[in-house]
């Protein structure tokens, strides 16, 4: 078999191996979780990441209220959160949802201790494994301060000094000849 044929065969095999499983995966359709706790966490994450997408958030809460597995979730609070969301009060909705899964202390004091998701049988590890997120509380995006306090000013001054010294050294160590100059010196 010629090299080109072998390459074509390999490419076709790779295409089949990659496209067919993808099509099969697409054919599985909707893969929403049937765990109320996961759906509540997703709703909180959507409030944090895409607060304008209220339809998607409400849908997650509806699915959570109708989920097969509702362990570890206070559904009354989820119901209240849905009403708050309907009234446009995202802050209350988020706090109620956090509390509904026992993860309130991170958003307000005096509510139940956070619970961690348990995996497997008693005695087995309860920390996140595989591709689990380990998230119990959805934190807001955090932007570190870039205020020009004393430390930051000192860092900028040091950095600027590095730029100046580096530029001076680069000029000092510059090549004697330029490419254009060498071409000219070589003649036509």
């Amino acid at each position: 078999m010629g090299t080109i044929k072998r390459v074509l065969l390999a490419a076709t095999a790779t295409a089949v191996l990659t496209v067919v499983p993808a099509a099969a995966a697409d054919a599985n359709g909707d893969d929403d979780s049937d765990e109320a706790r996961v759906l509540v966490l997703q709703a909180i994450a959507l409030i944090v990441n895409q607060p304008d997408d209220e339809h998607e958030i409400e849908e997650r809460l509806e699915h959570a209220l109708e989920a097969t597995h509702q362990e570890g979730v206070d559904l009354d609070l989820v119901d209240e959160a849905a009403a708050a969301l309907h009234d446009g009060d995202h802050e209350s909705a988020r706090e109620l949802l956090q509390t509904s899964i026992g993860a309130g202390p991170f958003v307000s004091p005096g509510v139940p201790e956070p619970i961690r998701e348990a995996h497997g049988e008693p005695g087995e590890p309860t920390f996140a494994v595989g591709a689990e997120t380990g998230t119990t509380v959805v934190l807001d995006e955090y932007e570190p301060s870039s205020a020009l306090d004393g430390g930051n000013v000192a860092l900028i001054v040091l950095s600027a000094a590095a730029i100046v010294v580096g530029a001076l050294l680069a000029w000092l160590f510059r090549p004697v000849d330029t490419v254009r100059g060498l071409r000219r010196a070589a003649g036509p």
């Binding site: 697409d26 961690r116 494994v129 570190p144 860092l155 580096g166 090549p175 000849d177």
Partner: protein
């Protein structure tokens, strides 16, 4: 510009260093053989364009230094990773170190890409440098791997969605992508494994290949400039002179990164939740995101595979002898089209709203 009349510096020629300096270098050389670094290189290697590889190394050094510092405070378990990055604000120079690490990573990606383009533009991959070129392409892939794993280590929504995409792509590859799936070690978080890749495997491989890259440069010499005729009176410099100028450029680079790091520290996103897709990947991966929007998940694999196939095949298709860009129109047109496509796809992805793919 006409040829200047500054003093000529010849390797091994009149040594103008102070006596104490010569004695010190001689003493060190006797024990470590550092004089081997004084091999001659053509003077054009000291221009900025031909120093991009050295500048990539400068950003890598900045990454290693800041990375070692950050590793003292980063907690690579899913429950604590995101929070441990937030707590860097309470650590002396913590925010600055992370910011410098972030910006040095962006710089390294840009510089290694520009270095690769410079090599392609000047045909520096042609015989006998094909092997060294492939070492460089492999390092380019490793830089992308470092960027990817670094993105995931933040363990925010963006990083987690990047990870989920990578797992899906790995599963498309079947056995070849096995390491990238969670099934390899089911009782260990994939975050911990990616952390080991980010701090040991990827930089370790980069260092090994970097040594090989440098040895091969010495073996073959820095390539001639295709625009400089062989009859031109080009001087040579010791390689240490090249290192000196790269060091000066590197100082400018680190200084600029320092200013940017203070003024624009990177944010850390919300803690991740699975089952939603609300973010877009970091800008170096946006072109793949645009492909995924149009053609689905496998297109990430095909797009990246196509790009690297082109890079790998290049020295065997364009084997010379012409290296001047004007005499290699096919390579120049293809390279131009690829670069333009990457830029256009990136811009398209930048202006579209995030979509759910999985």
């Amino acid at each position: 510009m006409a040829t200047t009349t500054r003093t000529t510096r010849e390797p091994g020629g009149g040594d103008e260093r102070p006596r104490w300096s010569r004695r010190f270098v001689a003493a060190v050389d006797e024990r470590l053989g550092i004089d081997a670094l004084r091999y001659p290189v053509p003077e054009h290697a000291n221009s900025l364009g031909w120093s991009l590889g050295g500048l990539t190394l400068a950003s890598f050094v900045a990454l290693v230094v800041t990375g070692i510092y950050l590793a003292q405070f980063y907690n690579p378990v899913p429950e604590a990773a995101n929070q441990s990055i937030r707590e860097l604000s309470d650590v002396w120079l913590g925010t600055f170190a992370r910011s410098l690490h972030y910006w040095a990573a962006q710089a390294m990606y840009v510089l290694v890409a520009l270095h690769l383009l410079r090599v392609i533009f000047h045909g520096s991959y042609q015989r006998p440098r094909e092997g060294n070129y492939l070492v460089g392409v492999t390092m380019f892939a490793l830089v992308i791997a470092a960027l990817f794993t670094g993105t995931v280590l933040k363990w925010d929504q963006e990083g987690f969605e990047a990870l989920v995409h990578n797992i899906e792509v790995a599963e498309l590859l079947g056995g070849l992508g096995f390491w990238f799936t969670a099934e390899v070690a089911e009782n260990v978080s994939i975050l911990v494994r990616l952390y080991s890749a980010h701090v040991v495997i990827v930089p370790g491989l980069i260092i090994v290949l970097l040594i090989l890259h440098a040895l091969l440069i010495k073996r073959h010499g820095i390539s001639t400039h295709p625009a400089i005729p062989a009859s031109a009176p080009e001087r040579s410099e010791p390689f240490t002179g090249h290192l000196r100028r790269v060091g000066a450029f590197g100082l400018v680079l680190v200084g600029a990164l320092g200013v940017i790091s203070v003024l624009f520290p990177p944010a850390i996103g919300p803690t991740p939740v699975e089952g939603i897709e609300v973010t877009k990947p970091p800008w170096p991966f946006l072109w793949m995101y645009a492909l995924e929007n149009w053609f689905g998940l496998p297109s990430i694999l095909w797009g990246a595979g196509f790009l690297f196939a082109l890079l790998v095949l290049l020295p065997f298709v364009d084997s010379g002898p012409d290296r001047l860009w004007r005499r290699r129109p096919v390579v120049m047109v293809i390279a131009g089209l690829v670069v333009a496509a990457l830029i256009v796809l990136t811009v398209i992805a930048l202006v579209t709203t995030p979509e759910a793919h999985l």
